[in-house]
């Protein structure tokens, strides 16, 4: 068998980029077909294909790193760059929604009553559930750092406990936010206030769910002995993403919930 004379990872041919691309096609065209022809089949097919692709692609990366040893230091460096660049792109994504919020709220139009919050909008009290949500996410930032140090120090039980606590805090945030959404005195259809509020906080909530899922996968891997005290990049990537989600919330809280109320 020929062995490589370099430290880089020449991946095996994989079908998942193709299946992922087709999933994107089915999701987009499926949404259009749902809008115009009232049929959900194409979009659902796209969603199922997307889930299958994500599961198998990331399963394969775990196999390549943990079981085949392909994630050498230079390869890990590339993965770090990749995760940082991805999170940077997400920062720009949220920047757009903050731009929209500040555009409308810094110079409120006469149609809104020339004021912010607009006439007729009852805002949420920033010192009630939103403040609790802030505390929950900040606490989860502490617990995920605790988990990281536990992994680095080889403390298996503590790592599992702190990671579990982090995930539970994430679920608690999602639950609280869902309750807030249900009880809110305004909807997404309530002018530009409603639009900016629910689109910005809604996308943030989606990222909390994604981050919680990523951490849950890390918990499963930690329980199955995948991480070593020296090499646990999957966990580090999840922790970076989680801190990013926390920071976005802080900006949301200060801008929309507090200043905007």
């Amino acid at each position: 068998m020929a062995h490589q004379a370099h430290a880089y990872h020449m991946v095996d041919p994989s079908p998942w980029p193709l299946t992922g691309a087709v999933a994107a096609l089915l999701l987009t065209s499926g949404t259009a077909i749902w809008m115009h022809f009232n049929s959900l089949v194409l979009m659902t097919l796209g969603l199922v294909l997307l889930l299958l692709t994500m599961y198998q692609w990331w399963r394969d990366i775990i196999r390549e790193g943990t079981f085949q040893g392909h994630h050498t230091p230079p390869v890990q460096k590339g993965l770090r760059y990749g995760m940082i660049l991805f999170i940077t792109s997400e920062v720009f994504f949220f920047l757009g929604f903050f731009w929209a919020f500040y555009h409308s709220s810094l110079a409120p139009t006469p149609e809104l009553g020339g004021c912010w919050p607009p006439t007729g909008i009852t805002t949420l009290d920033p010192f009630e559930v939103p403040l609790l949500n802030t505390a929950v996410l900040l606490a989860s930032g502490v617990t995920v750092t605790w988990a990281h140090h536990s992994i680095m120090e080889g403390q298996r039980k503590q790592a599992i406990q702190s990671l579990t606590l982090t995930i539970l805090l994430g679920f608690y945030f999602t639950f609280l936010q869902a309750m807030e959404y249900f009880e809110a005195p305004f909807t997404i259809a309530d002018g530009v206030y409603g639009s900016t509020f629910f689109v910005a906080t809604g996308f943030h909530g989606l990222h909390v769910i994604i981050g919680s899922t990523f951490l849950a996968v890390c918990l499963l891997r930690q329980v199955q002995f995948h991480f070593t005290s020296e090499h646990h990049f999957g966990f580090e990537a999840a922790a970076w993403y989680w801190h990013f989600v926390d920071v976005v919330w802080l900006f949301l809280y200060i801008s929309i919930y507090w200043w905007g109320s």
Binding site: V41, Q56, Q68, F225
Partner: protein, 81 residues
């Protein structure tokens, strides 16, 4: 009667911390995925890999054809009621 007397001992063995602790199966997985059989990583795990791959590819091809069908339907003039 002898079997009944053994129950406390057996229960202790079933619920002792050594039984609850998961066995580290990473070395076995490393052996499986480093086997020199020329298989690509996405089907190197065994039969379930192949089945899942076939299911995914079937949905991929079927989905592509289905989206093409809807493209043709959407391109045709609307049937007026």
């Amino acid at each position: 009667m002898n079997r009944v007397l053994k129950v406390p001992v057996l229960l202790h063995r079933a619920f002792s911390s050594s039984a609850r602790r998961l066995r580290n199966k990473v070395p076995e997985a490393q052996k499986l995925f480093q086997e020199d059989n020329g298989l690509p990583v996405h089907i190197k795990g065994g039969t379930s890999d192949v089945l899942l791959y076939r299911a995914t590819m079937t949905l991929t091809i079927a989905g592509s054809c289905y989206s093409l069908y809807w493209l043709l339907v959407a391109s045709m003039p609307q049937r007026k009621p």
